[in-house]
Amino acid sequence: MAQVKLESATLGSGGKLLTQKRESLFQDAFRRLIRNRAAVIGGAIIILLISMAVFAPLIAVKSFEVQVLVDQNKVPEWVTSVFPTMKPYAQFSDDYPFGADYVGRDLFSRIVYGARVSLTVAFIGPLISLLIGVIYGSISGYFGGRLDDLMMRIVDVLYAFPSLLFIILLLAFFRSTLMHLEPGTFAYALGQLDAKMGGLLFVFIGIGLTAWETMARLTRGQVLSIREKEYVEAAHTIGASNLRIMFHHILPNILGPLIVAETLAIPGYIATEAFLSFIGLGVNPPTPSWGAMISDGANTIRSYPNQTIFPALALAITMFAFNFLGDGLRDALDPRLRGTQ
């Protein structure tokens, strides 16, 4: 990034400008970002959540999967003062900071470990969609012509697909196919890997298969506008290869909008995972996912609201944090876009 800036600056004028321009785009953006209070709070919460996920075994001493049936639905006393309707029938136990769920698992541990699922999705989701979308979009935009037409037509058709329905169908297919497979095949290995990841692999595949389309369109648009710039032409004339132009001259200059778009998409990925786990197609039990916990608790929400509302709040806080950070990043990387979507 810095290299490109310097090149264009040196071409343009003398040494003075060069020293002024030495601050790279990202340093500049970072300075603006930390002046934005909401974004800093969002970032801080995300750092907290990450450390919570990493150090989960230290924070949550109780197991998230061991069922202590005698402790079903037990709550500590403070919970009943938050949810006063529980007072007449609540059974108390101070062993569980947030209470125990309907099979006697520690809610607090499940929420802490649940951060692992949501955060993994928050980081892998953008990676997948960036990887596919950027490659697809830059090929389409860079080479243009017939190829571009064809590639974008394909995206158009896929775009018209109701993506969530598609994910649901695909997941149902993956999940039930796996139980009937012979060992030794690739699909079987995939299934084993998925089982090891607690069912997350297929969630990623589902999200990845549908989320790249937006990114491909955005990348293509950006590439189209950069492709005609003088410095790209200059690179062409001195005989730079297509790959070099793509990676050295175009990609660094379109990275900003892409990062912003992905950061703003993160809450969407988190919500998709929660939704999938809510309808029972996401992670495999007993992997704790906030979506699955909300779904489990929803059956008994009238009697034991804590089992639903605590994971729901955890989900909301995480999405808040990513939204704040995303908004701040957008304002910082591209001040012209301030206040837009």
């Binding site: 169908l169 309808i279 639903t308």
Partner: protein, 351 residues
């Protein structure tokens, strides 16, 4: 414009066909059939059932006869019977000839119902919920966005945009349980679950009585579902309006001494609607898919539960019916959005 619409309609048909083929292929590729049970049925029984529902035929034949039953109008002399195999959505009589259209087939799981029965009984409820949520999204989102834009960088702006961030960050699966508990269980303002409308419906989906009996059930789920979308609308309206009020023609209108209220309503708002309209397509998609979480959450007897249970039950006709229905909804919504877009902004030409 006409040519554009025709082209888009053709496009739509292609998309729906592709969706139907993929769905059909995938659902048959999922191992296990509609009649696999934990305690296996006798092979003979399964064979008879498969024969009865033509599941023993080759896949392409099943697909063709499905498309035939749904898409092609049937012209017969026999009047409609009560047979489950013979349930069409559209029935018209001309003299002694019957024209009958759209047979989505029987449900394998609930033996006494057809997919058309599900459409008739449960779809109107989902449609009511979706419509209410859309109305709420627009009713909250637009004024909030306008207020924030007109009073940019004031308390109003920050207030409006905080609500918007809140709305974006709190999906139905979070808001749902909180509403159910706070307003349904603790405060007892609304019944926590259920739905107030019963057939017959006006125009196929509107409740015939719009009283408290309807709204006491509808308000909570509609707000829970619509709030997220209202936030999106608010942010977009604000951004669009901020951009529009800086245009030259607004300055001209001010210069000629037009009232501020007229400037905003006549000039600025109409033009800032354009980006807002474009988002309505994806928004509609979010609402439609959002309805089934909302329905599960608030115990609303809509289409939502069929959507998920049909897949786990391998209830082929119900899977096809629900997916096609949603796909048609979404594609049509996108088409309408694009056409409205062209009407609002005469500069846009599709030909």
């Amino acid at each position: 414009m006409g040519r554009y619409i025709v082209r888009r309609l053709l496009y739509m048909v292609v998309v729906i066909l592709v969706v139907s083929i993929i769905t059909f292929g995938l659902m048959h590729a999922i191992p296990g059939g509609p009649f696999s049970r934990e305690k296996a049925l006798p092979a003979e029984t399964i064979k008879i059932l498969n024969e009865r529902y033509h599941l023993d035929e080759p896949l392409w034949k099943q697909y063709v006869s499905y498309v035939y039953a749904v898409l092609i109008p049937h012209v017969t002399m026999t009047p409609p019977s009560t047979s489950l195999q013979d349930d069409f959505l559209g029935n018209a009589q001309i003299g002694s000839v019957w024209i009958r259209w759209m047979n989505f087939g029987p449900s394998f799981k609930s033996r006494s119902r057809t997919v058309n029965d599900i459409f008739r009984d449960n779809l109107p409820i989902s449609a009511q919920l979706g419509t209410m949520a859309l109305i709420i999204a627009i009713m909250i989102g637009m004024p909030l966005g306008i207020l924030a834009a007109l009073k940019q960088n004031t308390v109003w702006d920050y207030f409006g945009m905080s609500i918007a961030i809140f709305g974006v960050s709190v999906p139905v699966i979070v808001l749902g349980p909180i509403f159910v508990w706070v307003f349904g269980v603790a405060l007892k303002w609304f019944p926590p679950t259920g739905w107030g409308a019963q057939p017959p419906y006006l125009l196929g989906f509107l409740p015939s009585k719009l009283g408290w009996d309807f709204f006491k059930y509808a308000i909570m789920p509609s707000i829970a579902l619509g709030l997220g979308s209202s936030a999106v609308i608010a942010r977009l309206t604000r951004a669009a309006l901020l951009q529009t009020v800086r245009e030259d023609y607004i300055r001209t209108a001010r210069a000629k001494g037009l009232q501020e209220r007229l400037i905003i309503t006549r000039h600025a708002l109409k033009n800032s609607l354009i980006p807002v309209v474009t988002i309505l397509g994806p928004l509609f998609a979010a609402l439609v898919t959002g309805t089934f979480v909302t329905e599960l959450m608030f115990g609303i007897p809509g289409m939502g539960k069929y959507f998920v249970t049909s897949i786990t039950n391998r209830d082929y006709p119900v899977i096809m019916g629900t997916i096609l229905l949603y796909a048609v909804f979404l594609v049509v919504a996108n088409l309408i959005v694009d056409i409205t877009y062209a009407f609002l902004d005469p500069r846009i030409r599709y030909d």
